[in-house]
Every structure is written in C-alpha cells, then in structure tokens.
Amino acid sequence: MMTRTWCVIGLMAFVSAMPASVRAEEIDISIGYLRLETPSRPVLSGLDPIPPARGIEGAELALKDNQTTGGFLGHHYTMDVVSVPPEGDVTAAAQAMLAGHDLVLLDMDDEALLQVADLPVAQAALVFNVSEKTPALRSADCRANLFHTVPELGMEADALMQVLMGKRWTKLALIEGPSAEDAALAQSYRDAAWKFGLKIVSEASWTFDTDLRRAAAREVPLFTQDFKAHDVVLVADAHDDFARYIEHNTWEPRPVAGAVGLVAEAWAPVVEQWGAAQLQSRFEDLTQRDMTAEDYAAWAAVRVIGEAVTRTGSAEPDVLRDYILSDGFELAAFQGRPLSFRTWNGQMRQPIPVVNAHAQVASAPPDGFEHARNPLDTLGLDQMESDCHAFEN
C-alpha cells in the first residue's frame, strides 16, 4: 500500500512537471509538394531565366527550419516532391501523393488546383496553393481544405496603388499585354485604382511583334506619345515578356510600375529589413540563387505547417486547420508583422513589399491605411467582397 501511494505521488509530480519543458511526443510529419509544370513561353529576353526548382527550394529551406525546431521536440519532418510534366496526369499524381500525405503544397494553375482539392482523398487533407494568384480561388471557387500562401492578384495591385497614392502619383497610363493573364493583371490594376481613388487616364494594348531588344528606343516613345497627362506608366505583363523594354523609353520622363520598375510582390531579393537578410542568406547558401516570391510562398506554407505542429503537438489536418484559422496563430516571416489567415477564404494575410531593382521602396500597407480588423486587410478581398462560403462553419 505504502509503495503504491508513493508511486502515485511520484507520477503526479512527474505530470505536473510536464508543461515545464516542451513535451517530447514523437510525431512524423510528411509533407507533399506537387507541381504541374507550365510549358515554357517564348519571351523577348533571356536575361532572367526561371529557376528550375523555383518554389520547391523555398519549401526545402522551410523544411530545414522545421527540422531544426522539430529536433528539440521529437517532431520529424520529411517532404516528398513530385513534378508532373505539362502534359502529365496531375490527378493521378495527386491521388498517389494524397494517399501518403495529408499536408500537400500545390504548385499549379487554378484548374488543376481545383481538380486536386476536389478529389475525395483530398477532403481530409490540408492543401496549400503556393503559386496561383487568381482571385476566384479566394471567392466563389474557394474550398474549405484549400489555403493560399501566395497573395491573390488584388493584394499586389492594392499594395502598388496604396504606395502610388501615398506619393500622390495618381494619374496612370496603362499598357496591357496580349495574353489572358495580362488581361487579368490589367483588370486587377483597374480595380485597385478605383478602390483607392487613382485614375487610369489612358490605356493601350501591346501588339508589337518586333524584336524590342533592338527597336525599343524607336518604338516605345511613339507608342506612349499619345497618353494623356500622367504621373506613372503602368505595365500589365504577366509573363515578363516586353515590360523591361518600356522603362526609360517612354515619351514622357515618367516612372514605370507594375511588371517592372516599381513592383509589388510578396518577396524580392532586395527585401532586407526585419531580419529578412538572414532568410535571404540562408536561402542563398542552400540554392546559390536569389529567393523569389514563389519560393517565399512555398517557404511560408511549410513554415505554417511547422508552426501549427509545434504549437498544437499534432499533425492531424483538422487540428492544424482549426489552429491556423484561430486568433492564436501567427507566423513570424521577416515582414515586420505577424502573418495569419483570413477566416473567410483561407488566404494568408501578409504585408506586400513594393520594390525596385535595387531597394525596397515601401512595405504595404503604408502608414495611414487603416482597417477595423487589421491594416493588412486593406490588401485584397475583404470579408464583404469575397463570395467564399466554404469557411463559414
């Protein structure tokens, strides 16, 4: 009897001591990264080739971050990457991936994303969109199991307009490229300009098929000569095709923004504040190249998983989902503010760096753009603007 009592007391002491240090329950977390490759497009310049492992290497860096933290907690992180060729069967690949992983990053277009997110096997999983900016995925086409660490087009366009507005550069001339993606980008600029009270005074469609590397100095001044009085030339060029030849070739001496010049994007090599230089240098050590916005989105997704697993001590998708959507979730992500998720559509809230080639010009939202909930919600689809209902219960 005596021995038994002692035993109980001993156990109690042990139990109450538990929260003292971090619990050491062993957990295996296997993350999937599924990519549907995009066919390469002809562009005018080969100066900035797309890194073959763009996105994937961002996830790899975050995996290492998670593994280090997990090492102190008994949490073992692994990641499997599958890259499907453009003409390949992404659904079959997703079936196979989801059979063994219930936390999966998706690097693919919106059509493929929805096919994967709607698979029966995906319903108990948590999938992260790390590449597709289409606003519809955060609105009518949203899915309860689908989170977005990549910002939607409107978040970047809003960021750019906020910064232009702060400078009182409010009259814009817009050049729109020929592709459907260029049209979507141009529309996001129009919407954002309207939202913040800037004016697009002239628009022009880019139709040239000349070799601009040689003809830009002759063609672009004429092309921009008829613009009404404007402060900034805005270029909607989603594929990095012609925009680089606009800057410093315009008829009027005006700054260029959008696809080139002053650019709003989730991450850029020039971001260095808030400890960002450390993330940049760790990425460079790992990959021998600069970290892109695509790498950042994938890095953030894997870090979101890591942070949620660390704090909940679980790798169950529904537990992680609840935590990620809760007030308690915040990710330190080298942007000077904690990142979190919008509970109405699963989009990650994030500041948007507004940069040029050599420096960060601003971090949007700049001072003065306020919001009842969070200043970051001045960027992109706010609750009232989103037609997403999948997150309502």
């Binding site: 003292a20 971050d65 933290t69 102190f72 990710l331």
Partner: protein, 322 residues
C-alpha cells in the same frame, strides 16, 4: 603666491580627474561600423570609434578594462581597450556573432551565431573556442544566471529558449515562447527568466526552478496597432521591481511592475527602439533607436524622455562604462 599655486594644482588635478571619472554610454552603430561614446555629464557624443563590420552586441568585462564587440559581418568578436579605443585582438566567435553574454567568471563569452544555429563558448584568455552547442534557427538572445550555472539562448525562428548547463555544455530544457524571441534576462536573483518575443508582442516569464511558464506580459498603446508593438531589449532596476522594455516600431518604452506584470507607463522615444543601458547611478536610461539613428535619454524617476542624442546609423547595442 602660495595660495595661487595651490589653486592651480587643484585645478590641474580636477582637469586630469575629469576624463577618468566621467561615466559613458557606449553605443554600437550597426550600419556605420562604429561605436559612439556618450558622456553622461554633458549628454554629448565625445568619441566615435571605428570597429569591425556590422557591430551589434557590446559588453564590458567586470572591471570595464575591456570591451567585447560582436562584429557580425567580420565573423569575429573584437576586444577593445576602451581607454584608447584600440582593437587589441579578435576572438574566434563562429559565424555571424550577433549577441553574447559574459559569464560571471569574467572569462567565458557565450555567443549566439545567428546564421549558423549554434551557440559558441569562447575562453577570452586562451582565445580558443571551448564548445559549440547546436540550438534553434537564428539564435539571438543570451542570458546567464547569477550563479553562472545556466546560460539561455533564444532562437528567433525556432521560437524557443534553450537552457544550457554551463558545466556540461548540454541543453537540459527547451521551452517554447511566442514568435521571434529577441532578448532574455534572469530576474529576481535568478528565480525567474524573462524572454521577449518581437512578433508575438509579449514577454514570457518562467520559473527557473522547473522551467514552467508562470506569466506573460502584454502591451497595449492607444493608437498603435498591436502588430507593431514588438518588445525587444529590456533592462531592470537594481531592485528588480521595475523593468523597462523597448517596444521596437511602437517607438515607446514600457515600464513594467515586475510583481504584477502590469505596465505602469509608456515613454515615447525614437523610432524602432532596440536596446538600452542605465547610467551607473540608474537615474538615467539610454535607449538605442535604430531607424531614427539616435539615443533617447530617459529620466528614470519621472519616467520622462529628457534628451535625444544623434549617434551613427542604426544604433543597436548599449553598454555603460562607469
């Protein structure tokens, strides 16, 4: 005649005595590769000294005859004679030393190597690395217990305080804190450990006996969004009844009652306030304001800012030389 000689002799004595007795605040300027030395009597910068690249953490040895400087981008800890401003030698520090703490034995520097996820222990006499301990990603905050038995490293991306046994150089506990821990201090004779979390916006209080969390300090400033209230460095009055906490881009220093863990006052300082140091008599507090490139002098009794002193670009660390 005799009288006159006496007077000039005492004047001379006074003149010689002044530079030696005037206390100073030393500030590291991260983006100028210099130190600014502030005279506490005149509240002016009296010396600017060139050092290695990207100086951040600075600390004096116990008798203030040596200054240790984390020259992060030189991958070295520099040892300076503060009298002459001369760099005597470098210590091997591991890569990218950011912050460190000098053990009470006055001999071992414990250094956080931010880029390398290790804590390095250096013997300042033999100038050799004694140990390297694997810690979380981006180690930064360093603290040593008054009895010298425990050193804490906090890691910014792993979000932990690592408790290291100084005898064995082994981690004996890891405790989670809120996002992006920056600074740690032992409080109340080592019975408590405080860790500030920049992105979490809190200070977590631990009982050092069993590493259990016993409290959390929250901050709230009217008109400042909570996301911008980012505690970094903090210092305690000698009786450990009051803590002063730098709140980064909130541009305020909070005054915290260490018994109730309630904030009693917020003091407006320069932009992105980072670290701080007291004057030797603890009547004044000097804060480094990274973005505005200056130092705010706070009158401790009235809890009011009394002066702003321009220093170099991105002032980071601060240390007092009595």
């Amino acid at each position: 005649m005799l009288l006159k000689t006496k007077i000039s002799a005492s004047l001379l004595a006074l003149a010689f005595a002044l530079p030696a007795t005037a206390s100073e605040i030393w500030v590291s300027n991260e983006k100028d590769d210099t130190l600014s030395v502030i005279d506490i009597d005149t509240l002016e910068v009296v010396r600017t000294i060139e050092v290695g690249e990207r100086p951040r953490g600075i600390t004096f040895n116990s008798d203030h005859t040596r200054l240790y400087i984390c020259a992060s981008d030189s991958d070295a800890v520099q040892v300076m004679d503060p009298e002459t401003g001369e760099i005597l030698h470098d210590l091997p520090s591991g890569e990218d030393p950011e912050q460190f703490v000098l053990h009470p034995d006055d001999r071992h520097l414990w250094i956080a190597n931010e880029d390398d996820a290790v804590t390095t222990v250096v013997d300042v006499e033999t100038r050799k690395v004694v140990a390297q301990i694997n810690v979380g990603i981006e180690p930064e905050g360093m603290a040593v217990s008054p009895d010298g038995k425990t050193v804490i490293t906090t890691s910014e991306t792993t979000n932990m305080a690592h408790w290291i046994d100084t005898g064995t150089h082994k981690i004996y506990a890891n405790t989670l804190v809120d996002a992006r821990p920056r600074h740690a201090e032992f409080v109340k004779e080592g019975t408590e450990l405080w860790v500030s979390s920049e992105i979490g916006g809190t200070i977590t209080v631990f009982d050092t006996a069993d590493q259990s969390e016993t409290g959390k300090i929250h901050f709230e400033i009217q008109g400042v969004h909570p996301d911008l209230i980012q505690p970094v460095g903090f210092e305690l009055t000698p009786d450990h009844k009051t803590a002063f906490v730098a709140l980064g881009p909130a541009n305020h220093v909070a005054v915290v009652n260490t018994e109730t863990l309630e904030v009693e006052a917020y003091i407006l300082v320069g932009r992105r306030v980072w670290h701080m140091a007291f004057s030797p008599d603890h009547s004044q507090l000097f804060t480094t304001n990274g973005v505005s490139g200056d130092v705010t002098v706070i009158d401790v009794a009235s809890r009011k800012p009394v002066k702003t002193i321009k220093v170099g670009r991105f002032p980071w660390g601060a240390a007092v030389r009595p």
